[in-house]
Subunit: 344 residues, 4 copies
């Protein structure tokens, strides 16, 4: 394999486009050879050609089977994640799969097995692990500065809710939004989740409630290493994307505050006003989206473990499903019972 | 009644002494006429006389029945709170009672009824409501700046755990420590708690575990107004007393950070170092301890409602008991069922 | 001498009243025995009696000669500072003299000599040396954390200008306002000022310009230890009292930011808004006003050096006069030439 | 002219390389067609080819005369800036010239005239004007949020001093380092400098003193609009690059703090530790280096004024020379007298 990892991207939606542009502009170690989308049209094709992408197609299999492609990024709709992952694994391609690993955990599990069987890398798109702030918090814990972990606290609030239509198909707040935080919680705790308890409310948009979902939620967690944790989510923080992490332990507390466009404050007769947080994930995790791809390519070239594995993706998904069940049943749910129920 | 409220303090332990000294030094509208303690000795007497306190006695009833005393501060051991409150009410004295209202909720309820029956004021010692930071957060919510309340988040961590012996008799982390946070949560939400779910762990001191208590806990809350909330407690934050409150709503988020001894930072080759938070409650709530007494005297002189009522104290206690039950049973507990169980 | 220092206050204006009330409320080691004011009237007398002050008089000498008084606080108009200081020294009374030491440096010098000759303490009222923030900055420098001092930066801005009438008699911005900063600069540098260069402008109130003064000024300093420094003053910071200090050295930089009423921020769709600084010197230096008196009493009782000497007051005054001369002549002025010109 | 601006870079030293890589990676509207360096060697050539640069040469004139090149970036040694600018202007090429405009102000003036005569754009490389923080401060002033400008304060400290050898040829602290701050001061004040007064010291490295320069300096400024200002420089801030700007006015104060690698704090038993500032200009002004080139290309394509003109560069240089003269002569120097002396 050449040192530059040649990639095919399946799905040219928002996230597929983001990766294509990021790689073209910022990632020297990766080349986007092809892109596919079931809705490929002239405009999309022009955009792809403009980025220097050679293979532009409607057929994902054109990429999966392409001899000049080393790895596949699965950026298509969630229901197709496992299928494309398995197909790519069979062709010996490494896989970067957007989160969640699939709508079905069983198929997710099969995807993981397929990657293992065919000895290809499988990385999940939990980009926040590559964020400069959260990585620094983890670093402080890993190097012992925080001591034993006692409490993990995550605040994660979106600037604006999705449409009720989207909410309906997205799998709900836990699978669509909080799944990032379950992954972050496991990453920061350095331990697996044992049980979850979810509290939720419809306070932002009644339509979300009608679709059977909540828009505001707090989930408490227990971890295998004895630590406990809490995640709070809201679909609408009017001041912008609120992304904070705190790890409290026996030797101290590491805390990451929001990022802002500037460090400027304006003191007036009314108050001292500072910037709002960066608006949403595109702004906030701009560098993290690049770094996760760089890291993926490095794992391939140096043949090392990826930093977010398929197993991670599966654990996160089980936690999300357990949270949904907890909310529905009004009681804590263990990961063990959830896995049993899911036949894992 | 004179404009200066003449007070008798029952109990000359840490908190009774604190009030006596605060009033003598800082509160013009209150005079400490007498103080009692079952263990009154020469040294304590000298201290009291040095503050200009005239009546120094072993007998609480000497103060309760004293004609020159308008109000009683109950600072004795928790098991005696309701008894002294009832006795004082019968003598027509106003009462400031330290938290919790009693070890028994039934007796607490009787104390409230007695104060009502005898038309005297009854204020509970939840001093944090008078804290400059938390009052400002509440003010922003009350004046509509935060909009509808969606999430209330409280972090409350002590710098060092009590002895296991103390932990054993204190009623545990929920009744002894988190009861302040239940009160703060109700105050900030502007609404009553509907249900609680507690998660806990023994991570600080195994002795606390042996005594049947936990030292690290997260409790989620639902409120009557639809909001949800979370409190996290630790008995040991090595960096000092960690007291933060956040109210997130439809129009914004009000957040109070810790207080520090100074605003100074030192930038060196290693890092930018700032002060740790103020060490513990004596430092952190120094002014709040004064302000709650000033407020109590004002309520008496102007015949207005006290800002923290006996009913507040009872609600906080029920929430604490419900949290304990939730932890024990591993499931959420509603305040309604807890009250029913308590015969309230 | 008793352990409680018995004090007589000359002058019952704003600052005299402040000291009287502070001592009565907060300072156990000092008793205000008497107070005098040339304009003493019924209302002032009632106020004084209300504080428990026994001797209330129009005659300063009644206090200076009173056998029950150990020390005198000179809070009268500046032109009388040295005269009262000298008179008190002759009677063997210790002296706390408000800044500046006098309108005349020669008389200031005589006052210092008188205190020396009669072996009484003479402390100047530069309260900011007792401020928690600035003391912490100094502590970091003194303990070597900052290394050798290279740059001292002081920002000092008032919330509102004085009346032009006051500005006219106050001695101007350097003698009235920046004199505090010259003292702070010497304190933080740990070294004497060698030369000053002043730049000024009339940007706040044209009346101040008509009175021959400026309302906005920047003064650069050189120190005997080789460090350099800068002070910026404005008579009007609409956001409140702006009091910051920064000491930059070979090992780091210690920086004190403003104090605020609370630590609360409000994040909204517009910005993240924090508190303005504490409004003015009464709020900002509340504790420092108390601490300087406690320190004075301690110096008397323990017979140690005062922390702000008469010589300090004289040096500060020379620096202020040199700044005025520099502004007028448009060139730097050395302290040596200024002293020579003043006959010191 | 095509919409993509085709550029030739003269000089492949640190700054030339930086621009070449930035453009290749991040700037779609610019193409680097050629690069020249008098010391061009194999390694440099390989690097250039790797970036896709077609013309690699020792001869600057090869670029200046190249038909496929629209604009020239002058990144060669300072003594050659004006010569290359003039040559490029004669060929009708637009010019981006690194600061300062030349070692000789006369030649700098000729360069400006040449660009005017040949109707090409001339932009100076004062990248800090494109910094997100400082642009936001300027924006607040420009939109009236700060009111009339009263005081401009700039802190600018390098993490480590240059070699004494470099210091000797760089023109000294004012021409090499503070020239950026003179430009920032003029930009933030929205007004020209009228006079400067410099104070300096050798506190970091005696060798710098031996070379006739200072390493620590404070310069006060007066502006044509009546505002006053101050800049402080140090060649060595052990905690990293210290870049702060403050504009104080009649309606408020806009302040930009340092940028840091993360927002993380670590609270321990010792202190609350935050990140040091970003290390040096490559990290701190990473985006600004890109944005200034984007802005230059935009000015060419849209035929609008550049944001940092040749005249700006000349004014900054005169201010730097005036500061040097002020330090030497120990008195303030007006820009008018400096210009007269320089024959401008």
């Amino acid at each position: 394999m050449s040192k530059v990892v040649r990639i095919g991207i399946i799905g040219a939606g928002r996230i597929g486009k983001l990766h294509a542009e990021n790689i073209t502009k910022f990632v020297k170690s990766v080349e986007v050879v092809g892109i596919s989308d079931v809705l490929m049209n002239e405009q999309m094709e022009a955009w792809a050609k403009g980025l220097g992408i050679r293979v532009v197609t409607k057929e994902a299999m054109d990429l999966i089977k392409h001899p000049d492609i080393d790895a596949i990024m699965v950026c298509s709709s969630t229901a197709t994640h496992a299928d494309y992952t398995i197909a790519a694994a069979k062709e010996g391609k490494h896989i970067f799969c957007e989160k969640p690993i699939d709508l079905s955990v069983k198929k997710g599990l099969e995807a993981i097995k397929a990657a293992k069987a065919h000895k290809v890398k499988l990385q999940l798109g939990f980009n926040r692990r590559f964020d400069h702030n959260f990585r620094q918090v983890r670093e402080l814990t890993k190097t012992g500065k925080v001591g034993d972990v006692h409490i993990v606290k995550i605040t994660s609030r979106d600037p604006a809710p999705p449409t009720a239509a989207y909410a309906a198909v997205s799998g709900g707040i836990f699978l669509d939004m909080m799944i990032h935080d379950f992954d972050m919680a496991r990453y920061q705790a350095g331990s697996e989740i044992v049980s979850v308890h979810a509290t939720g409310a419809v306070l932002v948009d009644p339509e979300i409630g009608k679709a059977g979902d909540v828009d505001t939620a707090i989930v408490t967690l227990t971890f295998a290493n004895g630590a406990i944790g809490v995640i709070d989510n809201s679909r609408k923080a009017v001041y912008g994307y609120d992304q904070r992490v705190e790890v409290f332990g026996s030797k101290g507390c590491a805390k990451a505050e929001n990022d802002t466009p500037s460090t400027v404050t304006l003191s007036t007769v009314e108050h001292v006003a500072a910037d709002k947080p960066l608006y949403f994930f595109l702004e906030r995790y701009k560098d993290a989206f690049v770094d996760e791809v760089v890291s993926f390519a490095q794992a391939i070239v140096e043949d090392t473990d990826v930093l977010v594995s398929g197993e991670d993706g599966l654990e996160d998904m089980v936690a999300a499903l357990a949270a949904g069940k907890s909310l529905k049943e009004g009681k804590p749910v263990t990961i063990a019972e959830m896995k049993k129920e899911l036949g894992l």
